[in-house]
C-alpha cells in the first residue's frame, strides 16, 4: 500500500516573512501510515530535520535551483505516522534530584525577531516535542512572559543571560 508523497510548498510563506512551522506540523499530522512528506522551502531547514527526525522521519534534501530546496521526509521502517516515538526513558529524570536532560533535539535562534515572535516560535517548537524531549532557544532578552507561560503549561526550563546580552533557554516538554 503506497500513497503518493504529500507535497507542501512553504516558499511563498517564507518569502512573505511568515512562519511555516505550524503548516508543516499540520501536514505531518495529516500523513497516512507510510506516506512521505515532500517539502519545498527557500533554505535547507536543518532545525526541522531534528524535529521530524525525533518523530521517526529520515530527511533527504537536495537543492532545486534559485536557492530553493526540496526535502523529503521518509518515515522509518515500522514508523506508522508522525506519532510520538520518543523512548520514554527521556522522561525518567522528572522529579529526580540530579536529573539529566536529554540533548536538545531543536536549536532555535530567535534573537532577530520582534516580540512576541520569539515566544511564539519557541512555544511552537516546544509543542512539537514529545514529552521529555528538550529544545534550546536563543532569545533577544530575558523572556519574562515566556517563562510564566512555560510554567502554566507544565514545561520545565533552564535559562541564563549570556555575556553577549542574549538569553539561552533549554526547555523540556512536560
Amino acid at each position: 500500500m503506497t500513497h503518493p508523497d504529500y507535497e507542501l510548498d512553504v516558499r511563498q510563506i517564507l518569502r512573505e516573512g511568515g512562519e511555516p512551522f505550524t503548516a508543516i506540523m499540520e501536514a505531518v499530522a495529516a500523513l497516512v501510515p507510510g506516506q512521505r512528506l515532500r517539502l519545498l522551502a527557500t533554505f535547507k531547514p536543518i532545525p526541522l530535520f531534528h524535529v521530524l527526525g525525533s518523530r521517526g522521519f529520515e530527511p533527504s534534501a537536495r537543492e532545486i535551483g534559485s536557492g530553493d530546496w526540496e526535502v523529503t521526509f521518509t518515515p522509518a521502517a515500522g514508523q506508522s505516522s508522525g506519532a510520538v516515538t520518543e523512548p520514554k526513558s527521556a522522561a525518567d529524570g522528572i522529579g529526580a534530584a540530579n536529573e539529566t536532560w536529554s540533548t536538545p533535539v531543536v536549536e532555535l535562534d530567535n534573537r532577530d525577531l520582534e516580540p512576541p515572535e520569539p515566544m511564539v516560535r519557541t512555544l511552537e517548537g516546544v509543542e512539537a516535542l514529545s514529552p521529555g524531549q528538550t529544545l534550546a532557544a536563543l532569545l533577544p532578552r530575558e523572556p519574562v512572559f515566556l517563562l510564566e507561560e512555560l510554567e502554566a503549561r507544565g514545561h520545565r526550563w533552564r535559562g541564563a543571560l549570556r555575556p553577549e546580552g542574549d538569553y539561552r533557554i533549554v526547555i523540556r516538554r512536560g
Binding site: P116, L123, V126, R141, E148, E149, G165
Partner: protein, 462 residues
Amino acid sequence: MMGTALSRWTMSYFTAALVFLVAAQVLMVAGYGFPAVAAQAPETLVLVHMVTIGWLSLLMCGALFQFVPVLVARPLRWERLVLPALICLLAGLALLLAGFLQLAGVFETGISLLALAGTLLPAGFLMVAGVLGASLWGGGLPLPARFVAVGLTCVLVTALLGGLFALLLSGFLPALAEIDFRTQALPVHIAMGLGGWLSFTALGVSYRLLPMFMLSPDRERASSRAVWWGGVAALALTALASPIAALVEKAGLREATNQTPLLAVVFGMACVIIYGFDLGFFYRHRKRRTIELNSRAAQGAFFALALSGLLLLALLETGTLERHLGALLYLVAFGWLTGLGLSQLYKIVPFLTWLECFGPVMGKKPTPRVQDLVMERRAWIWFALYFLGVLAGTEALLVDLPDLFRAAAVATLLATLAIVVELVLARRLCNVPENNRLPEGALRPRLFLPRLPLNSDKWRPQ
C-alpha cells in the same frame, strides 16, 4: 492562562486616561481655561490636572504596572493594591476638579473638597509607588528601572506638595501660610511632576521599549548612564533650589543665590541632548529595516522634546519665560508626553490584546501577528494631524492668538479621537481577517475591564 503575565487593570487605567485626555481637549476647543483666562485661574487648574493626573499619570501608572515586571524580570508585588490605587486616584481627581470649580465659584458646599483631594491623591500615588517600588526592590536594577525608581520618588514629592497646596487653599495649615508657596514650591511641584515623574520615567521606559520593538542593541551604555546622572542632578537641584538659596544667603554669598536654577537647566539640557544621541543610536542600529508606526510616531514626540528644550533656552535668553510659560508647558505636555504616550499606546494596546487573546493557543494554533491587529496605513494620518495640531497650538499660544489655538485644538482632538477608535478596533480584532480572527481556544478580550478568573481551577469546588 496568559493572564499571569498581564497586568490585570492596565487596560482600565488606559481607558480612564484616554477619557480624561479627550475631555481636556474638548474643554480646550470650547475655550475653557488658559489662554482665555489666566494661567493660575481655577479653570486652568482644572484643565492642567485633567491632563497631568487624569491622562498622563494614569497612563504612566497603567504602563508601569505592565512594564516594571518586564524591566526587572520579576512579577509585580502587592498587586492587589492596583485597583484600590485606581479608585483612590479617580476619586481624588474628581474631588480636586470639583474643588477647583468651587474656588471658581461654580458651586458651593460646606465641605472642603480640596482637602479631601489633597489626602486621596497622595494616598493613591503612595499605593502606586508602593506596588512599583516593592516590585523594583531587591537590588541589581537595570538602568531603565533606575529611571523609574527616580520617577516614583518624584511623583511622591509632587503629590506631597500638591496635597500641601490643597490643604493651604482650604485654609488648613495656617502655620505654613507664611511661606511663599507660589514662588518657591510651585515650580518644584511642576518640575517634579512634568520633569521627574512623567518625563524622566518616560525616558527610562523608552530605553527599554524602543530597542525591544526595533531590535536595537540595548546593552547599558555610558551615555545612557550619563542621562540618568544628569537628570538626577537637575531634579535634585530643582527640588532643593530654595533650601540651597537659603543656605547660600545665610553664608553671606548673596550674589551666588541664583545659580542653582541655572545649574539645573544646564544639567537638564545636557540630559536631553545626550538622550537625543542615544535615540539616534537606537534608530540607526536597529535590526528591523521596516520601522513600525509606533516608533515612527514617537519621533514626533522626540522632536517636540528637542523643541521644548530650544524654546526654554530662547525664552530664558529673551527674558520672556514667565510670559510664555503656558506655550512651553503645552508643548511639553502635548507634544512630548502625550505624543509619546499615544504613539506607544498604539503598540502596547495591540500587543496586550494579542497576548490576552492568543496567548492560550500560542504554538498550538496558527495565530495572526500583532501587526495584523492594526492598520498603519490609516493611522499614520492621525498621528501626522496630531503633531501638526500641537505645533500650530504652541505657535498660537506664543503669538497670543486664542482663536487659532482653539482651531489647532480641534485638529488634535479629532486626531486623538481617531487614534482612540483605532485602539478600540485593534482591541476588538476588527482588522484581522474573519477566518483567523479567533482560533478555537482563543479568548476575545473585553474592551477595558479584565476577565475575572472564573474559569481558573481555584474557583472550582474541590
